[in-house]
């Protein structure tokens, strides 16, 4: 009896302490978009619909800035679809699953939404988590439309996996070409996060292209962001600083890239920082300080794009989020993935997983916010353009300055 009582005391105390801590800090942590969602308009579904789609993403954990944006993007698309008449007059529902930004929990989240009978799954924002979701969905033949998972071999041997973003086999060469041709960098160092399948794949494709163009990789170092690895970069940065590279390619996520760039400058590395779409969150500005300014990374679209798709999407987003733009690109990609799935559902011959899978596979020239998406004959990997943006000081919501855009034909 005593044990139980004591543990309860401990938990109660924990609640009080953390309540105080959260209370202290609640006012100034608005780094997600979830905080200013207008509560006025309820969602158009309640979970009792016959046809439901799963939205599995990182609603908590490290990748929360991406996950909440995907969720909001999906909600926006589904509300729009249901208001426009739904599926032959019937509303379509959505089931949320939280992966907590971790592969093991991604599996549980996928199984949770699958057990509720969803016909398709939209998600995830990271490749490591999408692999788990795809494995769970495979047995039931449920199609998975990935939002921001760029790892190249994700769709290989998995005919039920699709994505609305480009792949690392494209993104890496884009950055290599940009660094070599536009920034005139000849000597490059690479720092890979060995914990992320995404980072490994991206570094590989970057390294290969940069060498093929005639550049040299003067240092190729690794760190580990999760598991038993320790976030200590001093050793690898000493090695890199000695080689005095002109560019440093950081293929990890914003959570680590921020502190790394800060430490790299402290170690006397003067190189230009380059990275992939894993940098895309404005929290990188706070964790890196001024070190990250002038760095370049690859992204999917830019809020300043004047095309009707982008501006139309932003108008709808702002109307729902009190005038603010999505802080990461996952808002638009989440919206694209959900709209594409719903568009396919409309075209599907049978309104089940099999019909949906065939219809998604058949998608041609779908006009998304992040560009035109054609999945037919592409094995789940749509050929899309990529843009390179420069990190600048935050000016309103915008902190990415458009630099160059590349189409798949330009990178061969």
């Amino acid at each position: 009896m005593k044990i139980g009582g004591s543990n309860l005391n401990l938990i109660a105390l924990g609640l009080v302490v953390s309540g105080i801590l959260v209370g202290c800090t609640g006012g100034n942590t608005s780094n997600g978009t979830g905080n200013n969602v207008a509560a006025a308009e309820p969602d158009t579904w309640d979970g009792t619909e016959a046809i439901k789609i799963g939205c599995v993403t990182s609603i908590s954990g490290d990748n929360k800035p991406w996950g909440t944006d995907q969720l909001e993007g999906c909600k926006l698309a589904l509300n729009e679809f249901n208001k426009a008449g739904g599926l032959d007059g019937k509303k379509v529902g959505m089931v949320e699953g939280d992966t907590a930004s971790k592969p093991d929990q991604a599996k549980l989240a996928a199984e949770k939404v699958l057990s509720q009978g969803v016909v398709g799954i939209v998600g995830e924002v990271s490749s490591g988590n999408t692999i788990q979701i795809a494995n769970s969905a495979k047995a039931k033949g449920v199609p998975v439309v990935a939002v921001g998972a760029t790892r190249t071999d994700l769709t290989k041997d998995s005919p039920h996996v699709f994505r609305v973003c480009y792949t690392d086999a494209f993104q890496g060469p884009v950055m290599a070409t940009f660094a070599f041709e536009k920034l005139h960098i000849k000597k490059m160092a690479i720092l890979t996060d060995n914990f992320l399948p995404y980072s490994q794949g991206l570094s590989d494709s970057f390294r290969e292209k940069f060498k093929a163009l005639g550049g040299t990789i003067v240092a190729d170092e690794k760190y580990e962001s999760g598991g038993k690895g320790l976030p200590d970069y001093q050793g690898v940065l000493t090695n890199i600083a000695k080689m005095n590279p002109e560019g440093l390619f950081l293929s990890g996520y914003f959570t680590e890239v921020g502190p790394i760039t800060k430490q790299a400058r402290a170690n006397g590395i003067k190189a230009t920082f380059l990275g992939g779409d894993g940098w895309d969150s404005d929290t990188i500005l706070t964790s890196a300080g001024d070190a990250i300014l002038g760095g370049f990374f690859c992204n999917h679209y830019n809020n300043l794009d004047t095309s009707p798709e982008v501006q139309g999407f932003l108008t709808k987003w702002r109307a729902k989020h009190g005038g603010s733009d999505p802080s990461t690109t996952m808002g638009a990609l989440g919206y694209d993935a959900m709209s594409l799935t719903l568009d396919a559902l409309k075209r599907a011959k049978t309104k089940d997983s099999k019909g949906l899978l065939d219809a998604v596979e058949d998608t041609t020239g779908f006009k998304g916010v992040s560009g035109e998406i054609t999945l037919k004959g592409n094995h789940g990997n749509p050929p899309k353009k990529a843009i390179v943006v420069e990190v600048t000081k935050k000016n309103g919501a915008n902190w990415q300055k458009f630099a160059v855009s590349y189409t798949p034909d330009q990178i061969k």
């Binding site: 004591s6 105390l13 100034n28 942590t29 780094n31 690895g229 800060k262």
Partner: protein
Amino acid sequence: MTTLSALPLASVDFTTLPQQLVNGFLLGAIYALVALGYTMVYGVLKLINFAHGEVFMLGSYGALFTSWMLGFGPGGNEALTGSWVTLVIMLFGSMLVSGTAGFLIERFAYRPIRNHPRIASLITAIGLSLLLQYGGQIFLLQGGKQAINSKVNPYADDLTFNLVKPDQKLAAEAATYQKRVDDAQVAKDKQFEHEPDRFNPSPLGVSLEKTLNELKEKQSDITNKANLTAVTLKIPKGKLIMLTAILGLMCSLWYLVMKTRMGRAMRAVSVDFNAASLMGINLNTVITFTFILGSTLAGAGAMMYSTFQAAPIDSFSGAAPGVKAFVAAVLGGIGNIPGAVLGALVMGIAENLVTWSGYSSYRDAIAFVILIGVLLFRPGGILGSNKVEKV
């Protein structure tokens, strides 16, 4: 520089060896603070406190929130810079949070089951560790990893020691390029002010850029050659202060354990739990004191790790340093105070040597390889044996 041609990236560069040894020593010093907590608790209770890594994590949050209260939080005053007072307040903040956490853990989780079989305490320790990791996900900040604002540390600049000066001839040659590079840079910048798109410049811009890049490349080639002949040691001033603080803490610990009544009681308890009790030593007081002491040291380590190493903080960030420090404690001989410090330094240096040799992907594996190696030949750890007085 020697390069093994069969392994193109596994290059060993002896000019960076001194720097890597220093990096390893500084990292090892932080491990040592955490390892001391494991070893002291084991000394008195024969319990491996697996929640010690989470005490470390709470200490990092203590430092983070203290820095926020001092005005270094998100949205704080940009012009604010820290001083040594800031650092000391943060150190005390994190030590206070960790010490309190250690006290509460002992009082409410371990004390009620102290007389039960030891396996119960062990499972409780693991359970507590998980509770704090995942509970922290809910209650501590949910916006992902946090980092302490680097402005709290005013001692970011380096002390540079030129152990071997760069080749004079090459250095002089590199210097002759400086003026030409500067001139070319000015010419290019002037032209690029009028260019609408810096990535698609006009023919004049292209040629100016080309001249600049060629000059820069020649200069950097020579500079690199010169650098490869030099051996320099850069130590941030902040880390020297950190090291001094760690040494100070260790001296006070030594004084506490060896020269005070409480220290004598701790040593007595570690020799024989029951006999110490019969001699009139209040076991509860001694054990509580040990937990607070060990946790406070972990808190100090956490503050230094998150401030001077700029390590990101989340509720799992204590797990990795915890495991490393535990391995260090076992390596040095668990229960032995100097052993924990020695083990930690060995670990820190070994890890950086692995990185130095070019195999940075195996860095974290080395900890366990060393552990297995040492335990095969010295099961008690480097300094551990039954005859050594344990605390």
